[in-house]
């Protein structure tokens, strides 16, 4: 029988498509006996959808930064 630690790791690997047939079977067996790991797997799946959204960092260069970068890349020493 898998431990909870192994089951949650297998669950993470499963979510990335990296479990063997044997592990898939062991995991299903563990899930039948353990409601906590079942919860973990279900909640993980829910969390994953937000991870793929990326963070909504909208970032702009300030005018100062822009001109400093421009100076730098136009500097003959750079080139």
């Amino acid at each position: 029988m898998m431990t909870c630690k192994e089951a949650t790791e297998a669950s993470v690997r499963k979510s990335q498509g990296k479990v063997s047939f044997r592990e898939r079977f062991d995991l299903a067996l563990h899930f039948m006996a353990c409601k906590y790991c079942r919860l973990f797997a279900k909640q993980q799946a829910w969390i994953d959808q937000f991870l793929s959204n990326g963070s909504d960092v909208k970032d702009q260069l300030t005018d100062e930064e822009k001109s400093s970068i421009k100076t730098k890349i136009n500097d003959p020493q750079t080139i």
Binding site: T3, C4, K5, Q43, S55, D56, V57, Q60, L61, T78
Partner: protein, 185 residues
């Protein structure tokens, strides 16, 4: 005949913000991200003779930035090694037999809170920011860029077992943080 050409004069205004946005998602400190973007332009200018015009200048700049970011991680390898963690390290979630620690047991989440709104997203974002730098980077490569775990291991030069320890811990921490700060509030 090359299809694309370079127009360095327009780079900063045209691509600066997009490249910065890309970098900020991958390195937490904005100043570092900005410097990496600047490096990207400098590297691009210096190697413009190598540009063959086979891809657009925008994609070319992204490629340079991406390799700059990976270099940044490789340079910090020693500090990151401790963030990756290893199997022997004391476990925050499980006892020695591999059972959940009592106070870490996942709780039932009420369905009426399983919604996506601005408040939830800001908590989610805070929990993501609480992860270790390398954990965040791996999540971005995995979920935003959609890269395969094997590719990520190669790019960051970490072993596959390190990768799974890291991904496992990151998921445990993120789940716990969301539970504590959203579902139990």
């Amino acid at each position: 005949m090359p299809i694309h050409a370079l127009h360095p004069d327009t780079w900063v205004d045209q691509y600066g913000a997009q490249l910065l946005g890309y970098a900020v998602k991958r390195v937490p400190e904005r100043d570092v991200a900005r410097d990496l973007v600047q490096d990207t332009f400098v590297t691009a200018i210096r190697s413009k003779d190598k540009y063959r015009g086979e891809i657009s200048e925008k994609n070319w700049l992204y490629l340079i930035l991406k390799s700059r970011i990976l270099d940044h991680y490789k340079k910090k390898k020693e500090t990151l090694a401790s963030d990756i963690g290893n199997e022997e390290e004391e476990d925050q979630f499980f006892d020695q037999k591999g059972n959940w620690l009592q106070d870490k047991l996942p709780k039932e989440w009420t369905t009426d809170k399983m919604i996506r709104n601005d408040e939830f997203m800001s908590i989610f974002e805070r929990c993501r920011q609480n992860l270790k730098e390398i954990q965040r980077m791996v999540f971005t490569m995995k979920y935003v860029d959609g890269e395969d775990s094997e590719v990520i291991c190669k790019e960051l030069d970490i072993s596959s077992s390190n990768y799974w320890v890291l991904a496992h811990r990151a998921k445990l921490s993120l789940r716990q943080c969301i539970e504590k700060n959203w579902f139990e509030q």
